[in-house]
């Protein structure tokens, strides 16, 4: 585990009124407590580009295991394999903002990004979808009963702009569909055009459900 990243996370957390860092374990996990809740263990990574399963495996090798894994910088991608390993250990992952949100759940290890959870459940429950797997933390591969698999990138945006689409392409590489997480707001004409130039589609949630069907 990265000592620099752990110190950075600890410094950031102590500035929050609602959280406190009350100690560290011998593994250098932070012992974090929300003002009104139980303590939980946070492991900090300092990885660039993409976090793989091999990067998180050592965190769960000992007797003391973290309930939450955070990485700085926040723009680093979490691979599907790393996410699956963390979830298999009944832990959660995310950014510093997610640590704050996890602190307000009864069990920090059960914290899941609300928007991604909504999309995963909706896709899994689609009558033409046989399975859904993480590619990255906000990118999913939906295997369909009829039709080819679709790679779906979810953008955390109220209004989807052309820059959102270009940024998604730069970060994730190929996707078939880029969908905005909010059910409110709009997709700009420029975002729609940008997706088309990439051979992809910019869709709302409702349109994604239709696309999965055909």
């Amino acid at each position: 585990m990265s000592g620099g990243a752990t110190n950075w996370v600890a410094d950031k957390l102590v500035t929050k009124e609602s959280l406190e860092v009350v100690g560290r374990t011998p593994e250098n996990f932070l012992v974090v407590r929300s003002k009104d809740g139980p303590t939980f263990l946070v492991a900090a990574l300092g990885l660039q580009d993409v976090i793989g399963a091999a990067d998180v495996e050592p965190l769960f090798a000992g007797a003391t295991k973290p309930q939450f894994v955070v990485n700085v910088p926040s723009k680093t991608l979490w691979s599907g394999a790393a996410i699956d390993r963390i979830h298999a250990a009944s832990a959660a992952f995310g950014t510093l903002g997610d640590v704050s949100r996890a602190a307000y759940t009864e069990n920090a290890g059960s914290y899941r990004d609300k928007n991604m959870g909504f999309f995963i459940n909706a896709m899994k429950q689609h009558s033409n979808v046989s399975s859904v797997a993480y590619v990255y933390d906000t990118v999913f591969k939906a295997d369909r009963k009829s039709g080819a698999s679709l790679t779906v990138a979810v953008i955390d945006a109220y209004n989807m702009s052309a820059e959102d689409v270009r940024n998604a392409k730069a970060r994730f590489g190929h996707f078939d569909v880029v969908v905005k997480s909010s059910s409110h707001g709009s997709i700009t004409n420029q975002a729609d055009a940008a997706a088309k130039t990439m051979g992809a589609q910019a869709l709302t949630f409702g349109e994604l459900m239709g696309r999965l069907a055909k």
Binding site: S18, S74, S100, R101, A157, Y158, S161, G185, S186, Q190
Partner: protein
């Protein structure tokens, strides 16, 4: 309380970007703009003159450099007008 601190930091950031931020408008919205004590991140929308400017600002702004994680939305002025972004997101201009 958090809002004023964040606005000060964001204005400093905008100024530090120099020509990259020239002609942009910065709008704050969400929990920090509402000054909620338990805000988890900063929602910022920057309106830009061109695609190149939006892409350059995405590369230049570190989302981990402020007191809270930065959730950054970048769009051109004409896109913002098309979707009425300032009104529907209930954002407030903080820069210039």
């Amino acid at each position: 309380m958090i809002r004023q601190r964040v606005v000060t930091s964001l204005r400093e950031l905008a100024v530090s970007l120099g020509p990259k931020a020239e002609g942009t408008e910065w709008h704050l919205f969400g929990s920090v703009d509402r000054d909620e004590p338990n805000a988890a991140d900063i929602d910022l929308m920057i309106l830009c003159k061109s695609d190149d400017q939006a892409d350059a600002l995405r590369r230049a702004i570190d989302p981990d450099a402020l007191a809270l994680p930065l959730h950054l939305a970048l769009m051109r002025f004409d896109e913002a007008i098309e979707v009425d972004a300032v009104r529907v997101q209930r954002s407030r201009a903080i820069f210039p």
